[in-house]
């Protein structure tokens, strides 16, 4: 494997232009912390953005920052927290789960569009991307959006590139909206609920006027990883301290029908949500596959049940709408899981599995013919030679 890691956008553009001229595929990555997911890319050369790093703008009063794609997430978070601000979508760090080393980068966060528990209240990573600079598959540098909080000028390539897993263009710089980090937080916690009841409780919590910013259910095996002896159902509140106290109590009362709720204060609550965000609570074995499923929240429990019937296990976030699952990397388990997701009307993504297996299954749902044709045409509009992360999401794209 030959790796190029240029230090600037011009170097990235030159590397892509060369690869395009030679029709030579590139494995595109940032820190490489998520290389164990989706389909394996067949490429001799790797193009990494990790050396193209550094914050280029931070204006806390305007709630924006810009940084080059290779900027380490840890550095971004340190800079933001020094002024009391944070990444709104609470992006997870799956490197422990995926068994990868290295540091995840801002570009990787955008290219995968993985969001944390706060997704239900405050949107996804892609919702806070204000602008991008990127190099397309022919080596042309393009920008979309900008550094202002509202912008509808031209097609929104920020959203198209977010979550495209480096298959359309290589991000070089990203501008984000940020927000003040909350002064305090707490969790309202119910014990021992079954998934269906838990999701009903979480629906009531998220449908309350108390601004719930996290809603998860951990079945016993996942709850055990937080030291609990039975299932945990958690609703998080993040606000000014006085509001956290007020809303926490009100929410306990509102959830009274579901059992006796207790309040986990700031530090305990924050530690629990970090484990939920990064899927450290997921019961898993090193040789297991991991699926990340997004469904209509009320259908989360049936997907979880189908997974358990097939010998897998997992937990629910996003009030039931995010199902994290781990189980044997086998066709029957995959078929049981994806069948349940299809019936529930949602999507799956294979987050971890042995490489040969990932190459042989649908790592995301196959698209209907008309949409698949559109995927090919849009791919060709940005990467006509098909050199950027070929086959990463779909075979032949």
């Amino acid at each position: 494997m030959i790796t190029a890691a240029p230090a600037d956008e011009a170097g990235i553009a030159a590397a892509i232009a060369d690869a395009c001229a030679a029709c030579e595929p590139l494995l595109v990555q940032g820190g490489g912390t998520k290389s164990a997911m989706l389909r394996p890319v067949q490429a001799v050369r790797t193009l990494s953005t990790r050396n193209c790093s550094g914050m280029t703008l931070y204006s806390p009063g305007e709630l924006v920052f810009s940084a080059r794609a290779g900027t380490r997430m840890a550095d971004v978070e340190t800079t933001l927290s020094a002024t009391g601000q944070h990444m709104i979508a609470e992006p997870p760090d799956f490197s422990l789960l995926l068994g990868t080393t290295g540091e995840q980068t801002l570009g990787g966060i955008v290219a995968t569009n993985f969001s944390g528990p706060r997704r239900i209240a405050a949107g996804a990573v892609r919702d806070h991307v204000l602008g991008v600079r990127a190099v397309n598959g022919t080596g042309e540098t393009i920008h979309s959006g900008g550094r202002v909080l509202k912008n509808v000028t031209g097609l929104d390539l920020c959203k198209l590139l977010a979550g495209s897993h480096g298959t359309l263009a290589v991000l070089t710089e990203i501008t984000f909206k940020v927000l003040p980090a909350p002064e305090d937080s707490c969790s309202v916690v119910l014990h021992g609920l079954a998934p269906h009841t838990a999701v009903a409780a979480l629906a009531a919590a998220v449908g309350s006027p108390f601004g719930v910013s996290g809603a998860a259910h951990l079945p016993p095996a996942a709850a055990a990883r937080l030291g609990a002896t039975q299932s945990l159902t958690l609703a998080r509140i993040e606000e000014f301290a006085a509001s956290v106290a007020y809303r926490g109590e009100k929410l306990c009362v509102a959830l009274n029908d579901f059992g006796h709720a207790e309040i986990w204060p700031g530090a305990v609550s924050r530690a629990a949500w970090a484990s939920i965000r990064d899927a450290h609570v997921l019961p898993t074995d090193p040789d297991h596959a991991i699926w990340r499923v997004s469904v209509r929240p009320s259908r989360g429990p049936e997907v979880l049940a189908a997974a358990r019937n097939a010998g897998a296990d997992g937990y629910l976030d996003w009030a039931g709408g995010l199902v994290m699952l781990s189980g044997p990397a086998s066709e029957p388990v995959h078929a049981a899981m994806t069948g349940a997701v299809r019936r529930a009307g949602g999507i799956w993504l294979v987050l971890r599995a042995p490489a040969p297996w990932r190459a042989s299954v649908s790592v995301v749902p196959p698209e209907p013919a008309a949409l698949a044709a559109l995927t090919h045409r849009v791919k060709a509009a940005l990467d006509p030679a098909g050199i950027l992360n070929p086959g990463r999401i779909f075979a032949g794209v």
């Binding site: 305007e62 509808v152 009903a200 209509r296 009307g345 949602g346 999507i347 060709a380 940005l382």
Partner: protein, 474 residues
């Protein structure tokens, strides 16, 4: 003056046959061909530009939309999708050889789900009708453009509409879960659903704000949110635009994100006060409306903090609403702003540029100078928290000279916004109005890239032609 590309003569020559063909697809009175009945469709919210279409088609089902688009594709007929026709950028301006595809008859609310907190509606449902449908359970649909009584959700998706409360709740794109769209090939695509994350490319995000150029939206699944326990508005008047701008910066920097943070300059205050009698400070050079949400005690807490911040800027007046009625009174003038300005001028252009909020004072000062040079009055009413300016340029369209000066002043203001580090449009869209200014914000390479994506959806460039991209580039 905006130019339209020459009509396709072969389409004009086949007008009767095309209308007959469309009538076979949309029966009854769903196809309009006679000149008098085409009149209401010749313009939109940018009423200064007018052009009757070839015909108007008003389908009632997604299947009819698909059949019409397939027919138009087969016959090389251009298509201008239209909701309520409230676009302020001429996004629904017809062409002589184009049909208008009006979605207003598709106005059913198909499903409301409080457990999963979403609603599925047809494209012709008005923005406010969604909130009205869920208000009894104290839910709402968040984006609230000024035209929300009339504008339709399909148009909101096409333009990625914002509103006064998007500082906290985001714009249309941030509040969508799913779309049913029809491509120019007549393919019906279901994108997203009732779940949060997509697999594959973010079609939902790409189509939102694409101004009807990629596909026609027929159904929309939106997120609905539970309302806060209550809301309260406050009003602060200041000695200058610069001081009010500094106060905006201080509020945002304090860690409080109000649900709304609106700015009005002196001409706007006077126009709105004369119209609404809202008790606005007539001696102030600029005024802020700030709204917070929460339980009464939480409102007290936030308003006290905001009052402290405003006091640091030597306010001329400072008033926190004591009752919901007083909050409503504070909002009344702002919400009637366009009507108020309409009373004091025969015509106006509403600009929509965005700037970094730190550049607010100097931008407003420069706009004032430019207005003086153009000898046209300008007032400013806008969403200050996100830097989305709405300078209203007042003129009389009966004077060709004033019209030309107003158009030029508008273009100059938008050029200023881009030069300040901002953009041409924050929520109204490019449409016809800002099409020829796109080179200010995008290089030829970047415009070509966007064009290739457009071509991937619509290789014949039939969907909403002559919008968004400079003509020479299309």
């Amino acid at each position: 003056m905006i130019t339209l590309p020459p009509p396709k003569q072969e389409v004009l020559a086949r007008r009767e046959a095309i209308i007959a063909g469309l009538r076979r697809l949309v029966p009854g009175d769903g196809v309009i061909g006679d000149a008098l009945r085409l009149k209401p469709y010749e313009t939109d919210g940018l009423a200064i530009y007018r052009q009757p279409p070839l015909a108007v088609v008003l389908p009632e089902t997604t299947e009819q939309v698909a059949a019409v688009l397939r027919f138009c594709q087969g016959n090389g007929v251009r298509v201008v999708p239209r909701g309520a026709g409230t676009s302020l950028s001429g996004g629904a301006l017809p062409m002589e050889d184009a049909i208008v595809l009006g979605l207003m008859r598709m106005n059913a609310i198909l499903d409301v789900d409080y457990v999963d907190r979403c609603a599925t509606v047809q494209a012709g449902v008005t923005n406010l009708a969604i909130t009205d449908a869920v208000a009894e359970r104290r839910f709402f649909y968040a984006p609230d453009p000024s035209s929300q009584l009339a504008c339709m959700i399909g148009g909101n998706v096409a333009m990625n509409s914002g509103g006064a409360h998007c500082l906290k709740y985001g714009v249309t794109a941030n509040n969508l879960l799913g779309l049913r769209v029809v491509t120019i090939d007549g393919d019906v695509l279901d994108l997203g659903g009732a779940h949060l994350d997509a697999a594959g490319y973010d079609w939902l995000g790409l189509i939102t704000g694409s101004e009807g150029m990629l596909a026609v939206v027929t159904e929309v699944t939106v997120r609905i949110l539970r309302s806060a326990e209550g809301a309260r508005a406050m009003l602060a008047g200041f000695h200058s635009n610069a001081i009010a701008g500094a106060c905006v910066d201080a509020v945002i920097s304090s860690g409080i994100i109000p649900v709304a943070l609106e700015f009005m300059d002196r001409p706007a205050i006077h126009a709105c006060e004369a119209y609404a009698h809202a008790g606005y400070p007539m001696d102030a050079a600029a005024m802020l409306i700030i709204e917070v949400e929460g339980a009464p005690a939480e409102q007290d807490f936030l308003c006290a903090r905001l009052t402290d911040i405003c006091r640091r800027f030597d306010p001329i007046s400072l008033r926190v609403a004591a009752t919901p009625e007083e909050s409503a009174a504070i909002w009344k003038g702002r919400k009637g702003a366009f009507g108020a300005v309409g009373r004091i001028t025969p015509d106006y252009f509403c600009m929509d540029g965005v700037i970094p909020t730190s550049r607010l004072p100097e931008t407003l000062e420069r706009i004032g100078e430019m207005a003086n040079e153009a000898e046209l009055p300008v007032c400013n009413i806008f969403h200050a928290g996100d830097g989305n300016l709405h300078p209203l340029i007042m003129f009389d369209a009966n004077s060709a000279q004033q019209f030309t000066r107003a158009e030029k002043l508008g273009a100059d203001i938008l050029e200023l916004c881009v030069a300040m580090g901002g953009c041409l449009t924050g929520e109204h869209g490019v449409g016809i109005e800002k099409r020829d200014l796109m080179h200010l914000q995008f290089s030829p390479t970047e415009l070509d890239q966007q064009r290739r994506i457009k071509s991937a959806f619509d290789p014949g460039w039939l969907l909403n032609p002559a919008k968004v991209f400079p003509l020479e580039a299309t």
